[in-house]
Subunit: 630 residues, 2 copies
Amino acid sequence: MDKTEPLGDHGDGESQGRVGGRMTDTIDHAASATETDAAATVASWLASFEEALTAKDLDAAGDLFQTSCFWRDLLSFTWNLKTVEGPEGVKDMLASTLDHVQPAGFGASEEPTEAGGVTEAWITFETSLGRGLGHLRLKDGKCWTLLTTLTELKGHEEPRRDQRPKGAEHGADKERRTWLEKRRQEDEELGHTTQPYVVVVGGGQGGIALGARLRQLGVPTIIVERNPRAGDSWRNRYKSLCLHDPVWYDHLPYIPFPENWPVFSPKDKIGDWLEMYTKVMELNYWGSTECRSARYDEAADEWIVVVERDGSEITLRPKQLVLATGMSGRPNLPTFEGMEEFAGDQHHSAHHPGPDPYRGKKAVVIGSNNSAHDICAALWENDVEVTMVQRTSTHIVRSSSLMDIGLGALYSEEAVESGITTQKADLIFASLPYRIMHEFQIPLYDAMRDRDAEFYERLERAGFMLDFGEDGSGLFMKYLRRGSGYYIDVGASELVADGSVKLISGVDVDRITERSVLLSDGTELEADLIVYATGYAGMNGWAAELISDEVAAKVGKIWGLGSDTIKDPGPWEGEQRNMWKPTQQEALWFHGGNLHQSRHYSLFLALQLKARLEGIPTPVYGLQEVHHLS
Amino acid sequence: MDKTEPLGDHGDGESQGRVGGRMTDTIDHAASATETDAAATVASWLASFEEALTAKDLDAAGDLFQTSCFWRDLLSFTWNLKTVEGPEGVKDMLASTLDHVQPAGFGASEEPTEAGGVTEAWITFETSLGRGLGHLRLKDGKCWTLLTTLTELKGHEEPRRDQRPKGAEHGADKERRTWLEKRRQEDEELGHTTQPYVVVVGGGQGGIALGARLRQLGVPTIIVERNPRAGDSWRNRYKSLCLHDPVWYDHLPYIPFPENWPVFSPKDKIGDWLEMYTKVMELNYWGSTECRSARYDEAADEWIVVVERDGSEITLRPKQLVLATGMSGRPNLPTFEGMEEFAGDQHHSAHHPGPDPYRGKKAVVIGSNNSAHDICAALWENDVEVTMVQRTSTHIVRSSSLMDIGLGALYSEEAVESGITTQKADLIFASLPYRIMHEFQIPLYDAMRDRDAEFYERLERAGFMLDFGEDGSGLFMKYLRRGSGYYIDVGASELVADGSVKLISGVDVDRITERSVLLSDGTELEADLIVYATGYAGMNGWAAELISDEVAAKVGKIWGLGSDTIKDPGPWEGEQRNMWKPTQQEALWFHGGNLHQSRHYSLFLALQLKARLEGIPTPVYGLQEVHHLS
């Protein structure tokens, strides 16, 4: 949940600042000669592209692409999240989709720009079913990267701006019901006498953002959450927790955080925001409700979802089921010999109450990623004698360096001031092909390593085992590939470096005794408290637990790109496995990730669900194959 | 509360659309020749103005103004809300203020524009204490209207954008307290072991908007509200109530409504928004708390405010007291002979529960303004036989005409799309001198009268007594002058016109009997329900009730401009009497009005309170005199 996605460079190896700068040139300045050239280049390419597509001339279309090229489509052509590569990939995708997609009306939506041999443009287009927004990069007049996204379905646009609801219904009407009466009626009927089209299991940021989109699209939805109140999944965490991602990265759809919102939101404050958001966005949010089981009824084409709400069992029959149970939802509690003998407190980091009860005592924290560091620091601040046990190497990056070098160009106050809206930032980010993303990340992390060389040296001197990812591509690639293995330093590393937090590294736990942790090197650590900061189980486990092992196996591994690095086995998938897109199990969807992903991908998942509700044909191109369970 | 302020034209008699259009020209297009001229004219005027001010040459300054001119200052020169008129007014104000204000740095903040002989510019400037934003209109090279506003105090800027709080405090700190711990501590201490600097009585939209500003400025504040939850003052109204003002007019500071928010917000929905706003803005909001009395302790320079909170009495000692009790806070219940004999239900419109209990019964509604119409329509919709008793004439304007002709240029989706932010709209509106505002309103209402001639004819044929204000200036002037006397038609007028709602007009109530209302013309109306939609008492009464008759008399009439029209006796004040500015009673302030006013003026009231908290000298120029009690 407190995962972070730093953003890398995404052009031809130059700094991100340039890309941000180029985009806003079109806002701040009159068109220059270069921009006029860029406009002509883009207009010419788009005209040829549309001509080839209209003529269904696949060879002509393929010829418009570089040999090394990437077309990422979010729904508009494929009803999938899909990246195709090379002219052959482009042609294969078009062959399967052109007949029904009928793309047309391609044009630049603002002045294209050119720098460093790359011409960039924001584009709009239409398909037979909807309207699209995209981003194009040309090199030598041919397409290097293309992003196409579906933004709305024709005839099913969201009621906003000049289409917003009127609220008051003017005139006189003997059948009038007030807003409150309608809300109450919905609350009484939905899930009881009427059935939701979608049930979302998990009411964290993911379920809430998706719920808001679905409400706006008129898709009847119930969100099921085991905690009483929206926001509790944050409130229940250790008390010192603040978001590790900055505010510009964290906006929810529809209601952005105000300008006075803290950079790193304290957990209870973000909890209050989520609760408020859930209420004003009018979500059907069932708190204190546990999902017991879900089974797909093939005959009826619907799910049978059994939930326990405030102690009584209710069976829901939605057509679609979304698991938004979270990457950090299922604690990975290790089993060490002797655990049952331990006389002190022991718990997974997910259940750590904070340091207050342990003042003056001895604590051992097993693990060395985000939660381990945050918890060690908070314990130390409360005069607990604390030892961190590091079993494998960890990637550390300082928050300030990550903000300056990794995120600043897209998600910062400066980005906002230079005209990079959240939507633009999300789409620029989405336009960077996963296949080559690490190439642009490596120089950034090299730069951070240089900048913080003295810091890293001190950490290593204290015995800390550092890494920067298998290929040196750093934090964000670790997040996308495996979702773990890092700490964004907000202060704890100094405590490790100076010995305030004791560190034992390169060891494993041998066994737990009544009063201590015995390590593989023979060390015995006395302990009143053991915190297992050992991460979270993959989301596939949720499918097994809530539905069945059979369905879990059918769906396969969730998350990861197939990069063939640690915890992200190949083959290459090119998108995050099973996330926000059709799975091998009919009508089963997975939603989640950090606040950025919850915001961005909730639109595309909501549009997929809306299309199915309306009976719009949604032929999926390139449905993912299953290679692994976890 | 459900008052509306339509906006009039505000230039030289041309349509508003033109003003909006002109403003956005500077955003959309490159500078034209006219604009270059306008820029030179403005630059030259500002340079001469600054030179005269720096040299303290009052004659030179006065010479820069038209004979008929208006300079409206919101704090920056006067520590008051004050409009001075004519070169002599300008000179008098400058003579009293220049020495300490030290204005400097005047410049246009965006490209000035010219149309119809009027050159317009947005300007920025500084004073010794703060930064300012203003608006200038020149005719023939001389100032016709000038608005100067203080936007922030140097050294006390609000923590927002790049100055926003960090949230997480990085590093390790043994004294660390979390956000939640700090909030809880404040909640436990403030008002008990520590004293707020400000107590705001009344937690409606006014108190909430002001509380949010004060929180951001670091002014310790408690808001006292008799209802349990924020938003209840809306929730408790009659069930069919929706805001009569459109959403673009209604934003609160900091968190604007999202793009999907209804045009006319249902009362319970706005209630939820206010409740959530209060929470996420971290206000110290004491619900279920009644203010019993307030007395100014001259010796201690502080108020002694006695409140009853959840049944126990607490004495607060703030330095400043704000009454935000609302224009619609004190029901004006008439006393008719025989009222005590009435056997049915009778209540003021403020306490009307809605139509549900009265289906099939007979109702009489005394009054013919907003609440009377809304209640009559809702009763009719629920099959109540309802009669409206109109005692005096009423101004009716159709909602759609008001939106199109009255508000659209500044507060509409089109205005937003053409670059008129809420702040710009508020400042344009603030730049229009009250003295001549009616001149620009009259043609708008003439246009509405033309457009809806057939509608008005039908209403008059049904016996309805219409007016358009004493001078034909319509709804908004009525609002500013007297705060009553109108209905924004959202459907009830058709029911009156076609006889569905019975109308008896030009009569008064003679007496009430056990089962009926007897009118002055001898008519007897059988009644199971009587609703007294007879408006609200002036805010001065709140001062009398909560503080003392002596202080109420010292402060005098609240609201109104001194236009010497009905319910707004002269002499001319030029600003709303006693609202948002210093009063004759030390440390006593009045805040309120509709959502637009709560948003806009809360900034200026908050800055006045902040300056006093910080011990910044605040010499008031032109403190208002007292001429009337009510």
